[in-house]
């Protein structure tokens, strides 16, 4: 697996898209810190941008990369290698490249302008979301033969998580506000990885006004640190479940 990982990473390191992603993050981060007079405000704006952008870019790039290297994957699949090692190496390399993009593009400005726990939590949330959407992207690329369909599906999934699910959750909360639905909000919010990322960050920033209903529920139920840890565990499950389906699908796939 490490051999596939190493050479996929070399390929990704020279990929213009990965370099561009890092530069875009750097431009956004530096721009926001220059525009806002308070670094906390800049960090909050940055978190809104990152929590939406990281899943979108990661899933679309993972899908496109896995489709574009399909013939190479076939070449690897006729070598004495288990398929799980091929996919494992490719997914890890994609995750590493995208995480490095975030650490260099957003991590460095955050550590310069606001070196605190909230910035670290934001980076951690972005890293987890990157891994989640590499796994989701891989699952989509494996289950769909056509690239256009795969990319379309990636966009739909992102749109569902970033906007639609939140809207539905909000509607549920308002519609059932007379009932004791708070205990339900914890598992319901955990069904959206982007929501989990947002909750993690806002629990650490401790701005109740910006936390939103689900974040407030997480804080009430678990307290700050426990809430973050629970969200982290849920995000880990969000990596593991699509990844295991991707591995199963790839093992059974006709290439």
């Amino acid at each position: 697996m490490w051999k596939v990982y190493k050479y996929t990473l070399i390929d990704l390191a020279r990929n213009k898209f990965v370099g561009g992603w890092m530069l875009l993050l750097l431009a956004i981060s530096l721009g926001l810190f220059q525009l806002e007079d308070q670094p906390v405000k800049a960090m909050l704006s940055l978190s809104q941008v990152l929590l939406a952008l990281v899943p979108l870019v990661t899933s679309v790039f993972s899908i496109v990369y896995l489709y574009d290297t399909m013939e190479f994957t076939e070449l690897l699949a006729v070598q004495p290698l288990r398929r799980s090692k091929i996919l494992g190496g490719q997914m890890l390399a994609l995750g590493t490249a995208m995480v490095l993009g975030i650490l260099l593009g957003a991590g460095i400005p955050l550590m310069i302008f606001l070196p605190n726990g909230a910035s670290l939590t934001l980076l951690l949330a972005c890293i987890m979301l990157t891994l989640v959407f590499v796994a989701i992207g891989a699952l989509i690329a494996i289950k769909n033969r056509e690239k256009a369909r795969g990319v379309g599906l990636g966009l739909v999934v992102w749109f569902l998580f970033v906007l639609v699910y939140d809207a539905v959750l909000l509607w549920v909360m308002f519609a059932f506000s007379d009932y004791p639905i708070e205990p339900w909000i914890v598992p319901l919010a955990a069904l959206d990885p982007i929501d989990l990322g947002r909750i993690m960050v806002l629990l650490k920033v401790d701005l109740a006004a910006m936390m939103g209903y689900s974040g407030a529920v997480y804080e009430k139920f678990f307290g700050n640190l426990r809430g973050i840890l629970i969200a982290l565990v849920a995000l880990t499950a969000w990596v593991a479940v699509p990844a295991s389906f991707a591995f199963r699908g790839f093992r059974r796939k006709d290439l």
């Binding site: 051999k3 596939v4 050479y7 990704l12 990929n15 399909m70 013939e71 070598q79 290698l81 059974r252």
Partner: protein
């Protein structure tokens, strides 16, 4: 013992059988040309052997080992696909290093069959994304012949190659055959089939129509060239099939 054994192999995509009840044995040191019209099941048969496609029915053995989830048998298999695409940003030398790593062979990049003959040693620092179709075929050929395979599968190997490189590749096929390697080769070029094949496997609609030495095809049909013998053979085959009904 036969080097490659297909027993009743079938592959179904949805409701359609791409390969049906395919049984054949291929011997060490034998070159078999697999021919047939587009969509006849040639690629499916090859992909089943390589483990790229999972069979719906039947079993395949390579060198006594069952084709399945255990990838060990692929240590003995070389493959040159019809179209090769590699990671754009890797260099040829790095790709060869990766394959050497996977195969556990510690040999110099510039060593090995075809590397020098096809001029690949002079292109080691070239990025794979900048290669022409013919250059990619050369890299593919080097990788297929590199690990002393006991079975080598060549899918339209000379398509896209210049005449000189084609000749070098065909000579390598003849040489590797002499080492006892079983060669499976698909080609639409009858001259290639005539020049190389010990037996010809003809597939149509996913079924094996015949698996015969070229001499037998010519003597049964009374033709002097395979390009005419094979269509005549098919007409005979269809006629006898109709009469048997």
């Amino acid at each position: 013992m036969s080097r490659v054994i297909f027993e009743n192999v079938g592959k179904k995509y949805g409701k359609m059988w791409a390969l049906r009840e395919f049984s054949a044995r291929f011997e060490p040191g034998e070159t078999v040309s697999v021919i047939g019209p587009n969509g006849s099941g040639k690629t499916t048969m090859i992909k089943c052997l390589l483990g790229l496609v999972h069979t719906t029915t039947g079993t395949i053995k390579v060198n006594g080992e069952l084709v399945g989830p255990d990838p060990k048998y692929r240590h003995h298999v070389g493959h040159m696909p019809q179209i090769s695409r590699f990671p754009n940003e890797l260099k040829i030398g790095q790709l060869i290093d990766l394959m050497d790593d996977i195969r556990g062979k510690d040999q110099g990049r510039a060593e090995g069959p075809l590397v020098h003959d096809l001029g690949v040693d002079a292109m080691m620092d070239k990025r794979l994304g900048t290669l022409s179709g013919g250059q990619r075929q050369k890299v593919s050929a080097v990788l297929a012949f590199r690990y002393e395979p006991k079975v080598i599968v060549l899918d339209e190997p000379t398509a896209g190659l210049d005449p000189l490189s084609s000749e070098i590749l065909l000579k390598a096929v003849r040489d590797i055959k002499r080492t006892g390697c079983t060669v499976l080769i698909t080609s639409h070029l009858m001259e290639e089939v005539e020049a190389l094949a010990d037996r010809v496997a003809y597939l149509q609609d996913g079924a094996l129509q015949f698996l015969l030495p070229p001499e037998d095809i010519l003597s049964v049909t009374g033709e002097s060239r395979l390009s005419k013998g094979i269509p005549a053979m098919l007409i005979n085959h269809t006629r006898s099939h109709v009469e048997s009904l």
